[in-house]
Assembly symmetry: C2
Homo-oligomer: 314 residues x 2
């Protein structure tokens, strides 16, 4: 008889449930967590499905890491301090090798984001991973989408377009040089939730923020709409990784294609945010434009780049 | 072009996000909730998958209600006050009729349990519903599994075995009289999370509690193990619904089969709990046995009833 659900869960996940805010972890009907006096709770949920959000042949370790990072990215986007998470895992079979490898990826993310795994559910079915993240916010503020002001500078963290380029590589539509390809795949499979940056932005009075999951244009568009402003983006200022720039110089990818990845490609999980113009740029962040009166986005779309803006799940 | 994910979600779910503890609901990167001063957070997650946890031809309205009730039952089991929930919905296609009906069931549960829907994610894939519930507990107590004391009385709420009998009816292995069958199906498709009872038990100093999802024997066994005690159950005292008793008298089901459903059938989502012997029985609850020194369960298993104890997902 294969090991029972309970045995497997305890074996692989019970060590991941400890944390400063955790009074009770996996093993009773609910987990119990403590917030500091006056803090509020931030909560978000994300599901990743095999063949939809990651290729069917992804390493289980990458699937585990990425599922947590993608969800934790929403805590980063509001500036929350991670408290803990629950994980609902749907699996076609209780494959011990798979679970072991998957749990290694989850463990790496738990450790990196200080996000203990306090509850879970395992069910049989087609592979899907749902992570709900729980975080703490001060009583009086949060990084939301609706506070951008005319005159603010618009920033993004890190570099853009890497994950979209990695997907094109995985799909066989382009062939980057080997080292660049490895870097891009790593960016797709191991996105970083920008937790520390989010908390810094909350302290520094950023007026609006969002994590770039659906593509810069789609996500900056959410800020513009929620804030009732126009966001102007200068495509020449978009931060590109050396691996992506290599694509233009060595692998025959057009500059237009690279811009398309950077503007409309999702899955980078960098932060896009607005700061009053008096604030200096945070480390590893690039000013890509400004907020103006008006509505919608202006990204030089008269330059003739054809963009299919924004990921649609349906 | 079909309506986008965002349009559908907003249309069907955005009205369900209001609540006394909700500062920010669906529409930003995280929801933001307030706990009262000194309260702790209770969190739990449950996934239901079509064909595993409910029949493939279930009404979408029942699927929605049941997914929330099953998750909310874990809040009841620890005595928590509901704060809100997130819902991760994986759907094969964005079927408007289905979503409308499903949302009606979710709305009924949101209203009944005062559990606003504050966040969600919709993905394409085989039908699965993951609900994470969030609740509030006092700083100094919770209904856990590990406090049962020798001498305590053991109770269950409501009646047992109804959901298991309903599944046997759905599988065609027995045919109850029509009215009884309808009642039993309702018990399976519309289980009630015992939120008010859980909060009453927390006030009254219940020493241990669990919700009966996997069957009385499996779940009472969790209490016995966590508390380091023996739990003695008298099968003759198990509360049976009139519909189930009708099975014995009119539909040719053996008393042994009915006991098997009541002892080992899951999905009833009643509470099993332990009270000091000086406490009177709460309304709609039945004393079914007592806690003794020792370990394990004693349910008269020398009476020759063959029980396959406890649901295993794998």
């Amino acid at each position: 008889m294969p090991p029972s659900e309970f045995t497997l869960i305890y074996r692989y996940f019970s060590a991941l449930g400890r944390g400063a805010a955790v009074d009770l972890s996996v093993g009773d009907d609910c987990a119990i967590l403590r917030l500091a006096p006056g803090e509020r709770l931030a909560a978000s949920v994300d599901t990743v499905v095999e063949g939809v959000h990651f290729p069917a042949d992804s390493f289980p370790e990458d699937i585990g890491y990425r599922a947590v990072a993608v969800a934790a990215s929403d805590l980063a986007a509001v500036g929350a301090r991670p408290l803990g998470m629950t994980l609902a895992l749907t699996l076609p079979e209780a494959d011990e090798f798979w679970l072991h490898s998957f749990s290694q990826g989850v463990a790496a993310a738990v450790s990196e984001y200080e996000l203990p795994l306090v509850g879970g559910d395992t069910t049989r079915g087609p592979l899907a991973v749902t992570v709900q993240v729980l975080g703490a916010l001060p009583a009086d503020r949060a990084l939301l989408r609706d506070g951008a002001q005319s005159g603010d500078a618009v920033y993004v963290s890190g570099t853009l377009g890497d994950a979209a380029a990695a997907l094109a590589f995985l799909n066989g539509t382009w062939q980057p040089p080997a080292a660049a390809g490895e870097y891009l795949l790593q960016r797709f499979h191991r996105p970083r939730a920008r937790i520390a940056l989010g908390r810094e932005l909350l302290e520094r009075g950023a007026t609006a923020a969002i994590d770039i999951s659906d593509g810069l244009l789609a996500d900056a568009g959410h800020i513009a709409r929620a804030s009732g402003v126009k966001i102007c983006i200068e495509p020449d200022r978009l931060p590109l990784s050396p691996a992506l720039r290599t694509g233009v110089t060595q692998a025959g990818v057009s500059r237009e294609q690279v811009l398309r990845w950077a503007l409309a490609g999702g899955d980078d999980y960098e932060l896009c945010f607005c700061l009053p113009p008096t604030q200096p740029a945070p480390a590893d962040c690039t000013c890509i434009g400004r907020v103006e009166d008006g509505s919608g986005l202006d990204w030089g779309n008269d330059a003739g780049i054809d963009i299919d803006a924004g990921y649609q799940h349906f």
